[in-house]
Amino acid sequence: MSRDDPAIVCDHLSVRFRDFVAVDDLSFEVPRCSLFGFLGPNGAGKSTTVSVLCTLLAPSSGGARVAGFDVAKAPDQVRARIGVLFQDPCVDDRLTGLENLELHALVYGVPRAERKQRMAQAVELTGLGASVNNIVRSYSGGMRRRLELARVLLHRPEVLFLDEPTAGLDPQTRRNFWQHLSELRQQRGMTVFLTTHYLEEVEDADAVTIVDRGKAVAQGSPSELKARLPPELSHGKAALEDVFVHLTGASIREEEASSRDHVRREVQRRGRLR
């Protein structure tokens, strides 16, 4: 990938599950080394998009390039260059933290000579300390997340996908997670693609895309989006949350369970992901 190529290009991407359109003609670009917020209410198609971008689900039409490679045509090239923290942690809870790290290093082909050093570095960066020698079953939710972050760092991804990484964590743990992540971004210059419901987490993102029902409804930097908000709604000092609610409506998404189930069922039928 040349220096100027975007880290992620999503080009008229659509994902259809029989009669249900989860992602509808979605296009956006994420510049290298930026923090990109991908927002939307439940069932908007966020996780489906992440699944396509990390090669677990094939696009129905359109396409996407990640780190310079086509997700459908060169999945292994993409896989070698990305790291993913899924919505649900996927560490092996019967192994110790360190054993999980070793497993990841082996599967990603981290050179033997560098394994020990990279693991020690990742443990230090994520502040896991001595607990890395404990069985993961005994970890708190926040520690599991930090272990996943440490694991993802081992193969030095260019693009990091975080799908609601702090859901269900307490404010202290969330703050701690973001501190570790911002240190990492400074050191490594990674591109971060983030979906979240905590809108304050993307207030300092470089760009934000808000999706609803599979379509992009707004794109721009947080300040641009806030500037577009009608003055009578901004109450003088607008937050991204006001923009979000203005664009996606105030009604609570009843379709949450049904659409997610839909995706899950379909993904099962196609045999991908789950």
């Binding site: 990390c54 090669t55 677990l56 292994d76 090239q77 896989r79 070698a80 990305i82 993913v84 899924f86 649900d88 942690p89 996927c90 560490v91 092996d92 809870d93 019967r94 192994l95 054993e99 070793e102 497993l103 990841h104 082996l106 599967v107 990603y108 082909g109 069985i135 099962q268 045999g271 991908r272 992901l273 789950r274």
Partner: protein
């Protein structure tokens, strides 16, 4: 090279999990007690077989085959489990071939199953069924082949059924007939012709027969035929499992 590392990593993980999960260990020790003592001793007088060996000794290869069947099919549960709890995703987004993922899972399941069969064999003398020391290595070879075939079968099922309930129901439905129709509990010659025909169609029958030849020197088919059938069945199930996973993921 990368494929070998993946296979090694997946096997190491499964062995670590196995070493920490005592219940698998207890099950492989409980099985010989239940079957060899409770059934073997009870049937001793009723079974005045032509084989010239006590019933418990006649039953041992069947008990080993049962360990292979149940532990091997259980290896499929671990795949369903991995899918349910997300670990499979961690492996699926890695830049490794789907073939090495299936072979890694398969070899891991085969190794843990063989280990459990070894425990059953080693425990048998303690409940009064002697096992010749020299018979253990060839028996383990047969067990390895048979385990590979059962684990392959389990992976075929796991590629299609995505829930624990679905998997356990089907696994039980598969395991019990395979066991009862394997000539584990009575000589094939004593069975009515229709039953004997079913037994001859069951690949597990040949694994039991091979084990019986090695362990007590009594056999029905030739060792060559036994190994051919068991090895062929292993190739078939693992091949279909690889194809199913490639199609599914």
């Amino acid at each position: 090279m990368r494929s070998l590392e993946t296979i090694y990593a997946l096997c190491k993980r499964e062995l670590l999990r196995f070493s920490r999960e005592r219940s698998a260990l207890y099950a492989s020790l409980a099985r010989p007690v239940l079957w060899l003592i409770f059934l073997g001793s009870g049937m001793h007088n009723a079974f005045r077989g032509q084989t010239g060996v006590p019933y418990a000794a006649y039953l041992l290869p069947g008990v080993v085959a049962m360990t292979v069947l149940f532990s091997g099919l259980f290896a499929g549960v671990s795949t369903v489990w991995d899918r349910e709890f997300g670990f499979l995703k961690e492996v699926l987004i890695a830049p490794v071939s789907r073939l090495s993922i299936v072979l890694g899972k398969g070899l891991a399941g085969t190794l843990t199953t063989t280990l459990q069969a070894l425990l059953t064999l080693l425990f048998a003398p303690l409940v009064g069924v002697p096992v010749r020391l020299g018979a253990i290595a060839p028996a383990l070879g047969i067990v390895f082949l048979a385990s590979a075939s059962v684990v392959g079968l389990a992976l075929c099922i796991a590629a299609r059924l995505k829930t624990f309930e679905g998997f356990s129901n089907l696994a039980n439905l598969v395991a019990l007939p395979l066991f009862f129709l394997s000539g584990s509990m009575y000589p094939v010659d004593d069975a009515p012709p229709w039953l004997a025909a079913l037994i001859r169609l069951n690949p597990i029958t040949y694994a039991v027969d091979a084990l019986r030849q090695v362990l007590i020197g009594v056999g029905h088919y030739g060792m060559g035929l036994d190994l051919l059938v068991v090895g062929g069945f292993a190739l078939l199930t693992v091949g279909v499992a690889v194809a199913s996973f490639k199609r599914a993921y």
